[in-house]
Amino acid sequence: MTLYLFYFLSFLAVLSALMVVFSKNPVHSVLYLIITFFCIFGHYLLMNAQFVAFVHIIVYAGAIMVLFLYVLMLLNLNSESEPHKNNTLKFVAVISGCLLMVVLVAALRGTDDMMLQDNGSQVGYVKNLGKVMLTDFLLPFEITSILLLAAMVGAVMIGKKSSNTTTPR
């Protein structure tokens, strides 16, 4: 049962991920991406990682994708107004995409022995997750927060600069 569910979700995730790339309309792309996120949410649930699953939904599907959709709706992109990209740009895009693929495959090759054996474990529960995060993985956790802070400050800086030039006071 779980196995079939896994295959179904994986199939749907890959299909909708492909549709993200291939659909012409950017808003449709975002909607397919949301479906992908829901499939990943299902995967997390299958792994009994409820906390991660719901945080994933709240943060990615509930906030980040809403922002994406927001921006795309404001831009009102469609196939006619899309700027023509030259060949060098496409070439660079393909190369960087392939490089990312290589990195991902290389990173995921060594994960065989990290596979979780016990499916009924409570590793994904909030309490255990919190303990692990704030003891064993404290450094990466804090570094991530600093990264996010830096990104936020950067965003504020960019926002401030543009408002200064448009409305001088």
Binding site: I34, F51, I58, A61, G62, A63, V66, L69, Y70
Partner: protein
Amino acid sequence: MSDFLIYKILLVVGVFTVTLVVAMYATYGERKVAAFLQDRIGPNRAGPFGIFQPLADGLKFFMKEEIIPSVSNKFLFILGPSIAMITALMAGVLIPWGNTLIINGAQYSLQITDINIGILYVFGVVSIGVYGIMIGGWASNNKYSLLGAIRASAQMISYELAMGISIIALIMMTGTLSLGEIVNQQAGGDWNFWNVVYQPLGFLIFIVCAFAECNRAPFDLPECETELVGGYHTEYSSMKLGFYMFAEYINMFISSAVLSTLYFGGYNFPFMNDLGLSHNVITILGTVFLFAKIFFFIFFFMWVRWTLPRFRYDQLMNLGWRVLLPLSIVNLLGTALVLLWIDK
């Protein structure tokens, strides 16, 4: 096992029905409250005191011509109200509607399911709810709808933050994410008050954010009539419009339920253990009390709607980002400090 299944199905159907009926009568209640606050009588033609008005409205919604604009994206146009309705109904699963009933020695909980991250589930469902509005607004292919959708999304994201942080302060206090446990912690006893006593600021932030999340006045900018015709549902007609309206009222019902669960003790009521009544009677009384609290909050939602004028959009954003968010962070830090101090 089959007993368990039948009972769960009964409970699900019961909660579903109650949610729909409450939402239906919330539309009637809204009109009545609006009328009474404005020295009018309100609907009073369909049946005694107009109590069949929701049925008449529903019938009207079904009979109306269904118009799908030819320039719209048909699939997404239909998907929008469906998502709004489904997500609105989904949140009711986790609300503890009452304590346990003991029938023939077996305990039957009046909560459909109590997963250990209950609040996150409610939160996630609410955050998905905005897609109904966004997709519907975009698919209509209408400027007003689009603007309404955009406003809705920006508003939701802004207020979810403050709401989430105000809940985190509460969670730090209770030490659990499960709604059932949070309610049980507020059960009557000596010096065991409802959470609102410990978290007044958090409650204030939460209720303001709840207004914004439900798109209720004074934060009903996504559908503000004076600027955007009908906002995101400008192009909608018939029962699809009805679904949007219904989703709004269900959201109101659910947020009232969450409010009473988190901050007002859920199905607990004062002196519940000193009355000397049997367990089942107290459970039923508790459910009645829970609904009384919920109805009060629904009334409060309406009361505020018919009192306050609508915020301007920049005021809304100011309030969300520059007032509520810092306040909720201060509340969070304060709670953390107090908890540390108590621990020592």
